[in-house]
């Protein structure tokens, strides 16, 4: 994997902006939602779906596809925007978030949404299922990659550390784990509630190839993925230093931005602000 050139960086940044706008529109239709943790993973989704993953949006169950397991399942709306923009389903469908009978529930569901590879929502569980997918690919002698996205609050779950221990020992080098370290959880700042300390050192102590990058830099994310792929014979984690609510002007920098209620004009203003950044 070569480094991204300037044009590619611009393209991915533009993709991220589109994902952010479509995600805010989804929330706007409802008046509430998990804004903070959706906004913080958007550059990651842009890099993965815009450049890295082997996918076919017209054939979501394609056997040769790379998988994404959104273990922090409450960020579903960010994934839905990404999938819609990639053509897995019409953008129009994004208006149905959380409506009765929808295919777009708050938390990601593999049986409802084209392109969603795993059902998640109860924190900690997606990581284990992602490890299982990576093991299955290894047993089936397939070269598909699995990308797993964890939250930082989620990293307080015991099951995560079961997975870190197992995954480090299993040396699953067709899998990359990302931790969205946005420093905030539902009840406030992670450091005030149950701090995670130095996550990179912790994962390294469990035998992982660990990197830390700016999770809002598409260049850094892409370069880290390239390095992780080059680290054969070792499981890889990339810790993304992010900002909860990033790019949404009424959420970013607010302590309680995990799940928010807002007025339509706030969403409109946030979208306008994103459009002005061009």
């Amino acid at each position: 994997m070569k480094a991204l050139d300037r044009q590619e960086v611009q393209k991915l940044e533009e993709f991220a902006r589109e994902i952010r706008i479509e995600t805010l529109k989804q929330f706007g239709n409802l008046g509430f939602g998990h804004v903070g943790g959706a906004m913080s993973i958007i550059e990651l989704l842009a890099v993965l779906y815009g450049k890295v993953m082997r996918i076919d949006p017209k054939n979501p169950k394609w056997e040769e596809r790379d998988w994404l397991v959104l273990s922090k399942g409450h960020a579903g709306p960010a994934l839905y925007s990404t999938l819609a923009l990639k053509g897995y389903f019409p953008l129009e469908m994004l208006k149905t978030l959380n409506q009765g009978g929808t295919n777009l529930p708050s938390h990601a569901d593999r049986n409802l949404t084209p392109g969603v590879d795993m059902t998640t929502g109860s924190l900690g569980q997606g990581f284990s299922t992602g490890l299982g997918v990576a093991l299955g690919h290894r047993m089936n002698k397939k070269d598909n990659y699995v990308y797993i996205v964890l939250g930082d609050g989620e990293s307080q779950e015991g099951q995560i550390w079961e997975g870190v221990l197992f995954g480090g020992n299993a040396k699953l080098d067709q899998m990359i784990v990302f931790v969205d370290y946005n420093k905030q959880q539902l009840d406030g700042y992670v450091d005030d509630i149950n701090p995670l300390g130095n996550l990179k050192e912790k994962w390294e102590a469990f035998g992982w190839h660990a990197q830390e990058v700016d999770g809002h830099s598409v260049e850094e994310i892409y370069a880290a993925i390239a390095q992780a792929k080059a680290a054969k014979g070792q499981s890889s984690v990339i810790i993304l230093h992010t900002i909860k609510g990033k790019g949404c002007n009424f959420a970013e920098g607010i302590e309680f931005n995990h799940h928010m209620r807002f007025k339509p004009e706030q969403i409109e203003a946030a979208i306008e602000a994103l459009k002005e950044v061009e």
Binding site: V69, M118, S122, Q125, G136, M139, G158, Q159, L165
Partner: protein, 319 residues
């Protein structure tokens, strides 16, 4: 009636059979949480090391990884004691497996009082209840080695998740070789017109014993084995209620939420019938040999006889 204790432990028959199936079915994967030597899955590890995973002592991660494996087309069987393979990892079974529609086969060993010397901490008396409450789950309690051999291929072929509740030890032989058994269908082991004893697991031989004693006293008891606790054979349960007008259930489980409850649900809906339940009467388990625990929790043939007489009194009074 003379019962024979099988010379082979049920765990060994299970693994023999699974190995046989796995020879032609490359998708079978075995996971165990540090009980490979107890559960016999070590034999699978020796034969198919590339398809066996000892995850160590981490049940939640085991169930989750099994779900992920199922998503890639594998047919995973998870193994540990019943208590750990159900209540310890219940949310994982609920969300990662059942809700996500990923068909994992969960094999819980040492159910109920068969946990014996591991005692109350390890004695799953609620496992059937907790998994029975999860939509799509099939709950099966094999009675003996003949049944284990007869149904395991069908367990592999079921489309949804399965909980297989396995007594590891040498079982009392109830079925004769070659008996045809179908998941979801109960089996009438003895005809009778006064009362039906519906039993599962280790309680089936006790029920047959009780029926012998009752016959000597002029009471004609029908004995039925319900080994698929979910989905339960409603047709058979209703027929028993209609034909005999009284039911005693017998299970190695809390009388709440298990076989007795499942039978009562069916009867309440289709044919209200007096029911008495043999099993642990909403108590915690405790340590000791199985014969002690059977007496302690009133789970012997003699206890079944007593409850049968009680239910027949109720039948007479119409309540």
């Amino acid at each position: 009636m003379k019962f024979t204790v099988d010379s082979q432990a049920m765990k060994d028959v299970y693994i023999e059979e699974l190995l046989e199936i796995a020879k032609t079915n490359q998708d079978i994967v075995v996971l165990d949480a540090d009980l490979m030597n107890s559960n016999g899955t070590i034999q699978f590890m020796k034969t198919f090391p590339e398809r066996a995973i000892n995850v160590g002592v981490q049940e939640a991660n085991m169930i989750g990884m099994a779900a992920g494996l199922a998503a890639t087309g594998k047919i995973p069987f998870t193994h540990t004691f019943s208590c750990f393979n159900t209540r310890r990892a219940l949310d994982q079974i609920y969300m990662s497996v059942a809700y996500a529609k990923l068909p994992v086969r969960i094999v819980g060993t040492d159910p109920g009082i068969t946990a014996a010397f591991n005692g109350g901490t390890h004695m799953a008396l609620e496992d059937v209840g907790v998994v029975r409450g999860i939509p799509t789950m099939t709950v099966i309690e094999p009675v003996d080695n003949v049944m284990m051999r007869a149904i395991l291929q069908d367990v592999v072929d079921l489309p949804g998740p399965v909980y297989l509740r396995v007594n590891r030890k040498q079982p009392v032989q109830v079925y004769s070789e070659g008996t045809e058994l179908e998941i979801g269908k109960g089996k009438v082991l003895r005809e009778g017109k006064d009362v039906t004893i519906i039993a599962t697991g280790i309680m089936v031989s006790e029920a047959l014993q009780a029926a012998e004693t009752l016959a000597e006293e002029g009471i004609d008891a029908k004995v039925v084995n319900i080994f698929t606790i979910k989905p339960i054979d409603e047709e058979l349960v209703v027929a028993c209620a209609r034909e005999t007008g009284a039911i005693v259930t017998a299970e190695n489980h809390n009388v709440l939420n298990g076989l007795g409850s499942a039978v009562a649900e069916v009867c309440a809906a289709h044919c209200p019938t007096p029911i008495e339940k043999i099993g642990v009467q909403d108590l915690f388990g405790e340590v000791g040999p199985i014969d002690y625990l059977q007496k302690r929790f009133k789970m012997t043939a003699a206890d079944i006889v007593e409850k049968t007489k009680l239910v027949l009194e109720r039948k007479k009074k119409g309540c």
